[in-house]
């Protein structure tokens, strides 16, 4: 569509990630305004989103976000649990504020509410479930960026990023890509080095899974870790494999299985509430690049 510098093009790896996370799979319904983003309807009724357009809108949104001088004026919103973690991580890395869970009506319009804030831009995970935020933004001159599925209403949405917003990997990846794009545009990251923050940080974790990890960490046994990580790792292995395809930096898949497991676990440790000291000891002195990047 618009002519952008080639450095902003999607790399092979990016596109593979999008496909692996199933960002291209829409729903059986399509809204009128989302029709331009649909590539084709599959035999079973699922609409396939045009990933090229996903990337374009993603970069467009990143440019909008990067243009806001004070990043605290940006608000990331997610009512649905699948988007909570992604929104929070995004906010953390960009420097924005996150409103997660129930969006108190009046947050933008009622200056008396405790959660009153006046952002200059909001980013939402789903126009349908975050409708309250979008409605209030319309009262107060706030532009809206939203991750939209094929069945999303685009009323009051200013920048729609077409993607699957039902699957947890898709949501996580979309936010991760957006965050990375913004940081690259700002100059914090450069385009050659892969981002040392892993996509997995943006994925939603089931509470039971999180508990299990915490328990495993507390136990501090290598065997146990291996068991837990293997389970979780299996699901995300596809992403890992693709990420590591370029085979560089922290996210690179080391051929040694233990190193990989320890890496995965160490990520969680920092993320989870477990005291990292026990982890530091428990983790073999592999000098995991992953672990160090986290500290």
């Amino acid at each position: 569509m618009s002519r952008l510098p080639t450095i902003l093009n999607a790399t092979e790896q990016d596109l593979q990630m999008l496909l692996a996370a199933q960002c291209h799979l829409g729903t059986k319904n399509v809204t009128e305004r989302m029709k331009p983003y649909v590539h084709k309807t599959r035999a079973d009724g699922i609409n396939i989103i045009n990933i090229g357009k996903t990337w374009e809108k993603l970069i467009f949104a990143a440019r909008v976000i990067a243009n806001i001088e004070n990043s605290q004026d940006i608000c990331v919103i997610s009512a649905r649990p699948y988007g909570h973690r992604a929104a929070l991580k995004f906010a953390k890395y960009i420097g924005a504020e996150a409103v997660v869970g129930r969006f108190t009506p009046g947050t933008f319009t009622n200056y008396i509410t405790r959660s009153f804030r006046e952002p200059r831009l909001i980013i939402t995970t789903d126009p349908r479930s975050d409708f309250q935020a979008i409605k209030e933004a319309s009262y107060v001159n706030i532009p809206v960026i939203a991750f939209c599925d094929t069945d999303s209403p685009l009323q009051f949405v200013d920048v729609a990023i077409p993607t699957n917003n039902k699957a947890k990997h898709a949501i996580g990846l979309a936010y991760w890509l957006l965050a990375r794009a913004v940081l690259r545009l700002r100059g914090t990251l450069d385009y050659d080095t892969p981002w040392d923050v892993m996509v997995d940080m943006f994925f939603y974790r089931d509470p039971e899974e999180a508990e299990k990890e915490a328990a495993a960490a507390a136990a501090g046994l290598e065997g146990k870790e291996g068991e837990v990580t293997g389970e979780w790792g299996g699901a995300a292995e596809a992403d890992w494999a693709l990420e590591g395809a370029a085979a560089e930096g922290a996210a690179g898949i080391a051929p040694v299985a233990t190193e990989w497991n320890a890496q995965a676990s160490s990520d969680w440790a920092d993320d989870g509430a477990v005291g990292s000291t026990s982890w530091a000891d428990a983790t073999p002195a592999n000098n995991n690049p992953g672990a160090s990047s986290w500290d």
């Binding site: 001088e69 004070n70 605290q72 004026d73 319009t109 200056y111 006046e118 200059r120 009262y139 001159n141």
Partner: protein, 254 residues
């Protein structure tokens, strides 16, 4: 439902005791002059003097939530209580009466506001309505009937406003005509700063609430009308929140 403002004394409900009738809101101002602590971004910018006049606020359609902003720019606003209307609700123990106050505020030079507030006491209702009127202040575009000589004195073109069934139409009039209107819209037009105007109305103009809202809407439409002299391209300027983003970033309470 228009709930009473938090700082309301629980005067007994029921008939309007206390000072009855429509008090002239004029004397109400100049109460306890406590320092205004702005809560909204716009408020902070105004207090710091970063915004020059109301017109800047209008250009960017910024919603005004704090009435002190309007006071700051338009200190000479005069208010006019149009009507106090008792409204009732039926309860098991009889009727519960509240008073609805319609207040029009204006500086007779291009700004009008309309506020409607319902409250258990007349005085509270009037006070609340004045605040709401200030929040709803709108710019009025005036023009000429014929030759552009002297100051604009009438509406720039025929405009109309409607509320409910009440419709009010304003038509440009030559200088010296005065306001040819019913008493209700006449007051509104006076406070707006329109000196000459023909009017036509339709519908149930007896319902003052709707009639006043209709003329207010009509006056508001004066700036919504694209006349040939507005055909040139606008030079966009930075919005206040973007321009003063550094200033706003510093003052973070919490």
């Amino acid at each position: 439902m228009a709930d009473t403002a938090p700082a309301d004394r629980r005067g007994g409900f029921g008939r309007g005791r206390g000072r009855g009738g429509r008090g002239r809101g004029r004397g109400r101002r100049g109460d306890e002059k406590t320092e205004w602590v702005p809560v909204t971004k716009l408020g902070r910018l105004v207090k710091a003097g970063k915004i020059k006049n109301m017109e800047e606020i209008y250009t960017f359609s910024l919603p005004v939530k704090e009435y002190q902003i309007v006071d700051y720019f338009l200190p000479s606003l005069k208010d006019e209580v149009m009507k106090i209307m008792p409204v009732q609700k039926q309860t098991r123990a009889g009727q519960r009466t509240r008073f609805k106050a319609f207040v029009v505020i204006g500086d007779s030079d291009g700004h009008v506001g309309l506020g409607v507030k319902c409250s258990k006491e007349v005085a509270t209702a009037i006070r609340g309505a004045i605040i709401l009127a200030k929040l709803s202040v709108i710019p009025v575009r005036r023009g000429y009937w014929g030759t552009a000589l002297g100051e604009p004195h009438t509406v720039p073109c025929k405009v109309t406003g409607k509320c409910g069934s009440a419709m009010c139409r304003l038509i440009p009039a030559p200088k010296g005509t005065g306001l040819v209107a019913a008493p209700t819209p006449k007051k509104v037009l006076q406070l707006a700063g329109i000196t000459d105007c023909y009017t036509t109305s339709r519908g149930s103009t007896r319902t003052l609430g709707n009639f006043v809202k209709a003329t207010f809407a009509a006056i508001g439409n004066t700036y919504g009308f694209l006349t040939p002299d507005l055909w040139s391209e606008t030079e966009f300027t930075k919005a206040p929140f973007q321009e003063h983003t550094d200033f706003l970033a510093v003052k973070q309470r919490k």
